[in-house]
């Protein structure tokens, strides 16, 4: 492990001052489940880790009719087991409950995962799908980013190195809207090879609006508007859903790697997109094809 210094701020202001002083030479340590392996492997270098676990109130999860707000200290296990989250934003609780393995979920944080922006991470796909509000603090004040335009490829986001994500606000999802997330991982707990998030809004028998986002196959969460076009204004029959799901795979641009060929990943996306869409339609109150 490389040499580094460790700081333990007790307020968001203190944390932001530290990040500002180091101007890029410091990183935020929340759960550390993605950060520490990178530091150990030398894939990330830092002068200082800023441990935000001692800032009071960071672990809050606040749920109301419209939003689920997850504070920067809330861990995946907390999100997954929160009854109110499960009731108001089921897809978020389900996704959090299947991130990594038990040990990762006991430490890892949702906000940290979004700020870290691993291309195979689950929360970035969900934040894009649901257009979550990502609230970040710095010495110059607070900025709210939109999940749909926050991610820019491998570990790249709208954030600069002096900002701390303090909370992520997901919209609640209830009929006539429904959402689901599907992924394929080579073994339980491993990073997924392909993921798809689906959000559907129904108007009577027809799809009024939809969103489809693929993850893990490209450099970041990838919305698939071409597939959405095949759904909107139509009845979500099995044939329509299949057509859109196939488009999610066909429009993807994966690379061949140790996890599988590009063709294999396209086929995975098609299957996952169909599963996610069918579940989203059912949850939106639509018929089960």
């Amino acid at each position: 492990m490389q040499s580094l210094s460790y700081a333990r701020p007790s307020s968001i202001q203190e944390a932001c001052s530290l990040l500002d002083e180091f101007s890029g030479g410091a990183v935020v340590l929340a759960g550390g489940q993605s950060l520490l392996p990178l530091l150990r492997l030398g894939a990330a270098i830092t002068d200082c880790v800023v441990d935000v676990n001692h800032i009071e109130g960071g672990d809050r999860i606040v749920v109301d009719e419209d939003h689920v707000e997850v504070g920067f200290g809330a861990r995946h296990v907390d999100v997954a087991t929160d009854e109110a989250v499960r009731e108001r934003c089921r897809v978020l609780a389900e996704t959090a409950g299947h991130i990594g393995d038990t040990q990762v979920r006991n430490r890892g944080t949702l906000c940290g995962s979004i700020a870290h922006a691993d291309p195979a991470g689950d929360p970035p796909v969900l934040a894009t799908l649901l257009d979550a509000e990502i609230v970040a603090a710095s010495v110059s004040g607070e900025t709210t980013y939109r999940g749909s335009s926050f991610f820019h490829g491998f570990y790249e986001t709208e954030l600069d190195e002096t900002e701390l994500v303090t909370a992520v606000r997901f919209p609640t999802v209830a009929p006539p809207r429904g959402a689901a997330y599907e992924k394929w991982e080579p073994s339980e707990g491993a990073y997924p090879v392909a993921t798809v998030g689906a959000l559907v809004e129904l108007d009577g028998d027809l799809v009024a609006d939809a969103s489809l986002v693929a993850g893990a196959v490209e450099a970041g969460p990838t919305p698939r508007p071409e597939a959405v076009e095949l759904l909107v204004g139509r009845e979500p029959t099995e044939a329509t859903v299949t057509e859109a799901a196939v488009a999610v795979g066909e429009h993807a641009d994966p690379i061949d790697d140790a996890e599988g060929t590009a063709d294999f990943k396209r086929e995975l996306l098609k299957t996952l997109a169909k599963r996610a869409l069918l579940a989203a339609v059912e949850r939106a109150g639509g018929p089960t094809p």
């Binding site: 210094s5 460790y6 333990r8 520490l36 038990t102 006991n106 339980e188």
Partner: protein, 165 residues
């Protein structure tokens, strides 16, 4: 502790009910701290990349990979290692692994035992799927897992029997 960045830290960590204060480099991992400062070598360092789970310990009761937590993050907290499970007798999980042959080479066993202990505290009567899911972060290259899953079921029975007595 102030917000001032430090390259060495004084940490007070309660390990297996024994509270000790040590000064360590800031970069010290919890796994290194347990082995090199507390001489508790039951916590095994396997992959050192947070994949294998051999270094699993309980941090305030939750299973964590100690190679993926800084000792500084355990400051003021309680850690249980495999050495902390047995009293005069082995714990139900330990004795079940022993008698059900839930191990071959034994390298992964401390991590398996810690994860299984955390699981059974939260879920005293898990299904096969729940056991496999709870142990997904612990790799074993010998057993094929079948005997490990059987051991956890056996441990669950022993814990219930002990509770009934």
């Amino acid at each position: 502790m102030s917000a001032e960045p430090r390259s060495t830290l004084t940490v007070t960590i309660t390990v297996n009910d024994d509270e000790t204060t040590e000064t360590v480099p800031a970069r010290t991992l919890l796994s290194e701290y347990l082995r090199d400062y507390r001489y508790l070598t039951g916590t095994h360092r396997g992959c050192e990349t947070a994949k294998c789970g051999a270094c699993t310990v309980l941090l305030d009761g939750d299973a964590v990979k100690s190679c993926n937590v800084l000792a500084a993050q355990a400051d003021g907290h309680a850690v249980t290692t495999v050495e902390g499970l047995a009293g005069d007798d082995l714990s139900p999980v330990q004795s079940a692994f022993w008698e059900t042959h839930g191990l071959q080479c034994g390298y992964c066993t401390p991590g398996m035992v810690m994860s299984a202990t955390a699981l059974l505290r939260a879920n005293p009567d898990p299904t096969d799927d729940e056991i496999r899911s709870a142990l997904a972060g612990n790799l074993c290259r010998c057993t094929g897992y079948t005997k490990i899953v059987e051991s956890v079921h056996e441990a669950a029975d022993r814990r219930r029997e002990a509770a009934d007595e």
